[in-house]
Amino acid sequence: MQTLEDTTKSEVEFVTFSAGEQSFSIEITQVREIRRWSPVTALPHAPHEVLGVMNLRGSVIPIYDLAARFGLGQTPENPRNVIVVAMHGGQTVGLLVEAVSEILSVSREKIQETPDIRSEVARQSITGVIPIETGMTRVIDLGAVLHPSNWSVA
C-alpha cells in the first residue's frame, strides 16, 4: 500500500559518474547497464564526440564521449573507463565516462534548475543540478545529448 507520505516524497534515483573531471548524472530508469570499455568501430564523418559503434549482444550501438560532448576535451584512454548504456526513446546508446561514482537517491525538490549559463551545449543538455557532498552533479537530458538542435562543430 502506498501511503500519502510515499507519494509526496517522490524520490528519484540517479546514476552519477564523472566525465571530464565533472560530475554528471542520469535517471536510473534510463540506464540499462554499465560495461567495460571495448574497442569501437569508427564511423565515417562522425562528429568528434561520436567515437564509433560497438556490438552490444547483436545490436549496433553508438558510443558518445560525454566529456567531448560537453566541450571538456576527449576522454583519455584508460582501462578504468566505463560505458554507461542508456535508453532514450527506443534508441540504445553508450556513454563513455571516466568512472561511475554512486547511485543517488534524492527527492524531486532537491533538483535545482540549471542556473543561467552561457554555454549553449550545457544549457541545452543539462536539465538541472543536484547539490552533493563533493559539490554538485549535472542532470543530463539524454535526448538533447543525442539530438542537439545545432551541433557544436569541433
Partner: protein
C-alpha cells in the same frame, strides 16, 4: 478499439479475395472444373455473410449481386461468355475495393459501384437479381428470450374439455390447433413437447390427445406416429404468433389453426395477465376423448415412434474419414499453418544471427590456437557451423512467402491499364511459388505495379499497330519469378514494339538530361529510362505521367539491395529484370580492408576484383584517376578518402573493386586488401544512431567487432563526402531496407 472478430473478418476476406481471384483466373482458361466455380461462388458468398454480420451494407449489396450471377453460372443457367467473364473479373476488383473501403472506413462513391452493378445486372438479363433482405427481416421472430425449461406439469396438464360454456355471447378467445406430427417431424429433431411449451408461452392451454389410432395393434408400424393433439389456446396473441411456433415444422405435420370461440374472458387476472398456467380444472362436463398427459415422457416416446434401430446404422465418422482419405492426394487441401507474430520471428532471426557470429568467433579462436590443435574439436566446430547454417536457413524460411499474392494483384493492374488505354492485354505469370522475404514482397508491390502499367501503356502497341505488324490484337505481359544462385529474379516482359531508342535519345536531349552532342551506345540509351524526370509518353495518359518514373522503380529495387536491368528487341518487346537478395537479413559480402578499417562490400554490386598495371591508371586533374579497362575509361574512387579515413595515398598498383553504380555506371573502388568473402548478418545503424553517408548498414564480424557495410552507390556517386550529420543526404530513404534488427 479493434474488434477481434472484425479483424478476423478482414483477414479472412483477404484470403477469400485471393482465392476468388485465383478461381476467376482459372475460369478464364479453357478447362476448369465445377469445384472452381463453386469455390468462387463460396468466396463471394462468405464475404457477403461476414459483411452482413457487420452491417456493411454496400459490401453486402454488391456481393449479393455478384453471388447471384455466380450462382447462375454455377447452375449453368448462365453461359460463361468472355463478356460475362470480364464483368466477373472487374466485379472481383470492385469487391476488393469495397472491402478496402470498409476496412479504412471510407465509402466508395455509388457511381463506381453502380457501374459494376449494372454490368452484373446485364449478365442476368432482366430484373433477376432480387434485392437483399433488409436487416431486420428475420425469418423468425424471437418468441421471447426466456423460454422456460420444459415443465412437466405446468402448461399442459391434460384437462377436461371446456365445451360446456353455454353463454350466449361467444367471442374469439384464442385458437384451436389440430396437430398431427408426421414421422419426419421426429427425424428432423423436433419434439412436440417443445412446441407445446412454446404455445404455453402464448397463453393458457389445454390439450387432448387423440389416441384412437393406437387402438389397432394388428398393423402397428413403429415408424408411423400415431398420436394427434387438439390444443385450445386462450390468448390475445395474433394467429401469426401461433404460426411462428410451428414455423420449423411446417410440412412435417398436419396442422389446422381455427379461432377458438368462447365467453369473453373473465376479469380474472390469472387469465389475462399471467395466463401461463392451465388451472381451469373446475370446468364441468363429460370427457369425450381419452385424456393423457402429453408432457409425460412415455407419451412422447410413443409418439416419437421412429426408432433409431430401424434405420441402417452408418458409422458416420468412419465414412467421413474415408472420404477425406480419397481426397488425400488433392493438392488443394490447405496446408496446416501457424500464425506467428512477426516480432517473434525477427527476434529469432536476430538470435540465430548471434549464433552464427558466435560460431565464427569460436572457429577463429580455435584457428589461432595452432599449438593445441585438436582434430576432433575442429570437426565438431565444423558440425556446429553446418547446424547453425541449417537453423539459419530454416528461420529465414519462416519469413519467406511466395510471390503469388503479389503476382495476382498484377492481373488487375493489367486489366485496368488495358481498359484505360483501349488495348487488349493479358498477364501470363510463372514461378508464383517462388519464395521471397516478406518485406521484399511488400516493398516490391509499388515498383512492380508501375512496371506492369508501363508495359501495357508504353510497351504494347495500339491494336492497330499490332495488326499492322502482324501480331495478334491481344498483347501479352509475362511476369515471372525464379531463384538463381542465391538471388531472386523477377522479369516483366512485353511483346510490344521494343524501345524506340532514337526517340528516347531525342527526349533526353530535349529535357536537358544529357548534352545535345552526346554520343550514346544502345545500352547507355536504355539506361536513360531510369533517369529522374524521364517520361516517354507523348500524350499524358491516365496511367503514366503521374510523376513517377522508372527512376523511382530503380531506387526501390536498390533499396532492397537489388538491381534492375533492361533488354529490348526492336519489334519484339522489352524485358525488365529485377535481381533481388533472397532475404534482407543476411547478404553475401566481401570483407575488405580500407584505411586500416574492416569494411564489407555487397557481392551483388561487385563485378570483379582487379589489380591493374600502373599503365592502366591515368591521372586527370589534380586528384582524379581513371582506369582504362577493355578500351573504356572508368573513374577510380578512393574509398578511404571518401569516408574520411586516413588514406595511405596513391598506390602505383592499387587493388580495385569494379562495381556497378547507379549514377556513374561502372566505377573502381580502391581498397587495401581483400580478407574474405562470407555471408554477413545485416544490422541496422539507423535504429540507434541514424544513417551514415556511404554506409548502408553494419554487421558483426567473427571477433565480435562491428564492420560497416559499404553503400557502393553512395561512394561512387560521391555522396559519402557530405557534411555530417545530414540524415537525408541519401536521396534514397529506402536504404533502410538493410535494417534488420
Amino acid at each position: 478499439m479493434s474488434n477481434p472478430i472484425l479483424d478476423t473478418f478482414f483477414e479472412e476476406t483477404e484470403e477469400l479475395l485471393e482465392s476468388l481471384a485465383e478461381g476467376l483466373e482459372s475460369m478464364q482458361g479453357a478447362e476448369f472444373d465445377k469445384e472452381t466455380v463453386n469455390s468462387v461462388f463460396r468466396a463471394v458468398h462468405s464475404i457477403k455473410g461476414g459483411a452482413g454480420a457487420f452491417k456493411m451494407t454496400e459490401l453486402v449489396n454488391f456481393a449479393h449481386s455478384f453471388e447471384t450471377v455466380m450462382d447462375a453460372v454455377r447452375s449453368e443457367t448462365l453461359a460463361l461468355t468472355p463478356q460475362i467473364m470480364h464483368t466477373l473479373m472487374r466485379s472481383a476488383d470492385c469487391l476488393a475495393d469495397l472491402v478496402d473501403a470498409a476496412r479504412s472506413g471510407r465509402t466508395i462513391s455509388e457511381e463506381v459501384t453502380s457501374g459494376f452493378l449494372t454490368a452484373l445486372q446485364a449478365c442476368m438479363g432482366e430484373g433477376e437479381i432480387e434485392a437483399v433482405d433488409a436487416w431486420d427481416n428475420f425469418e423468425f421472430n424471437a418468441v421471447t428470450l426466456d423460454i422456460e425449461p420444459i415443465n412437466v406439469d405446468a402448461p399442459a396438464v391434460a384437462t377436461m374439455e371446456t365445451t360446456a360454456a353455454s353463454d350466449t355471447a361467444q367471442v374469439q378467445i384464442g385458437f384451436q390447433i389440430d396437430f398431427r406430427p408426421h414421422a419426419a417431424l421426429f427425424t428432423n429433431g423436433h419434439e412436440p413437447a417443445l412446441l407445446f411449451a412454446a404455445l404455453g408461452d402464448l397463453g393458457q392451454m389445454t390439450s387432448r390427445i387423440d389416441m384412437t389410432k393406437l387402438a389397432d395393434w394388428s398393423d402397428f408400424d413403429p415408424t408411423e406416429p400415431r398420436l394427434s393433439w387438439t390444443v385450445d389456446l386462450r390468448t390475445d396473441e395474433s394467429e401469426i404468433s401461433v404460426q411462428e411456433v410451428f414455423e420449423f415444422v411446417h410440412g412435417l405435420c398436419d396442422l389446422r389453426i381455427k379461432p377458438l370461440m368462447g365467453p369473453p374472458p373473465s376479469p380474472n387476472p390469472e387469465l389475462s395477465a399471467e395466463g401461463k398456467s392451465a388451472t381451469n380444472k373446475s370446468d364441468a362436463g363429460p370427457a369425450p376423448t381419452v385424456v393423457a398427459d402429453i408432457s409425460s415422457p412415455a407419451a412422447i416416446a410413443m409418439a416419437a415412434a421412429p426408432s433409431t434401430a430401424a434405420t441402417p446404422a452408418v458409422v458416420v465418422a468412419a465414412k467421413a474419414k474415408a472420404e477425406r482419405n480419397d481426397d488425400g492426394s488433392d493438392a488443394k487441401a490447405p496446408k496446416a499453418t501457424l500464425r506467428v507474430d512477426l516480432d517473434r520471428v525477427d527476434r529469432l532471426i536476430n538470435a540465430v544471427g548471434e549464433l552464427i557470429i558466435n560460431q565464427a568467433m569460436i572457429a577463429q579462436r580455435l584457428q589461432d590456437m595452432t599449438s593445441t590443435r585438436d582434430d576432433d574439436l575442429v570437426m565438431h566446430i565444423e558440425d556446429y557451423r553446418l547446424l547453425a547454417r541449417d537453423i539459419q536457413e530454416g528461420v529465414m524460411a519462416i519469413r519467406a512467402q511466395p510471390v503469388k499474392s503479389l503476382f495476382q494483384r498484377m492481373s488487375r493492374i493489367v486489366r485496368e491499364a488495358a481498359d484505360a488505354t483501349g488495348k487488349l492485354a493479358e498477364l501470363v505469370t510463372s514461378g508464383e511459388g517462388t519464395e521471397v522475404d516478406k518485406t521484399v514482397v511488400e516493398r516490391l508491390a509499388d515498383p512492380l505495379t508501375h512496371m506492369i502499367r508501363n508495359a501495357v501503356d508504353h510497351g504494347l502497341e495500339s491494336r492497330g499497330a499490332r495488326g499492322a505488324a502482324g501480331k495478334p490484337p491481344m498483347g501479352t505481359i509475362r511476369l515471372s519469378a525464379s531463384h538463381r544462385s542465391g538471388s531472386v529474379i523477377i522479369t516483366v516482359k512485353d511483346d510490344g514494339a521494343g524501345l524506340n531508342r532514337p526517340k528516347i535519345l531525342e527526349i533526353a536531349k530535349r529535357k536537358g538530361l544529357i548534352a545535345p552532342e552526346a554520343e550514346l551506345n544502345d545500352a547507355e540509351i536504355d539506361q536513360l529510362l531510369f533517369m529522374a524526370g524521364f517520361s516517354t509518353a507523348t500524350t499524358i495518359s491516365n496511367l503514366s505521367g503521374r510523376g513517377v518514373g522508372l527512376d523511382v522503380v530503380r531506387n526501390a529495387v536498390q533499396a532492397l539491395g537489388g538491381r534492375i536491368s533492361i533488354a529490348t528487341t526492336p519489334g519484339h518487346g522489352t524485358e525488365f529484370t529485377i535481381m533481388l537478395p533472397l532475404t534482407l537479413a543476411v547478404m553475401d559480402g566481401m570483407v575488405v580492408t580500407v584505411g586500416g578499417q574492416t569494411l564489407v562490400v555487397p557481392i551483388t554490386s561487385i563485378i570483379e576484383t582487379i589489380r591493374p598495371l600502373p599503365t592502366d591508371l591515368h591521372r586527370i586533374g589534380t586528384d582524379e584517376t581513371l582506369l582504362s579497362i577493355r578500351g573504356r575509361m572508368i573513374p577510380v574512387v578512393d574509398v578511404a578518402r571518401s569516408l574520411g579515413f586516413p588514406s595511405p595515398g596513391t598506390h602505383s598498383a592499387p587493388l580495385l573493386l569494379l562495381v556497378e553504380s547507379e549514377k556513374l555506371g561502372e566505377c573502381a573502388l580502391v581498397v587495401d586488401s581483400v580478407q574474405d568473402q562470407r555471408q554477413v548478418v545485416i544490422k541496422s545503424l539507423e535504429s540507434n544512431f541514424g544513417s551514415v553517408p556511404g554506409v548502408s548498414a553494419a554487421t558483426v564480424l567473427g571477433d565480435g567487432r562491428i564492420a560497416l557495410i559499404l553503400d557502393p552507390d553512395a561512394i561512387a556517386g560521391g555522396r559519402a563526402t557530405s557534411n555530417y550529420p545530414m540524415p537525408n543526404i541519401l536521396s534514397n530513404a529506402g536504404r533502410t531496407a538493410y535494417a534488420n534488427a
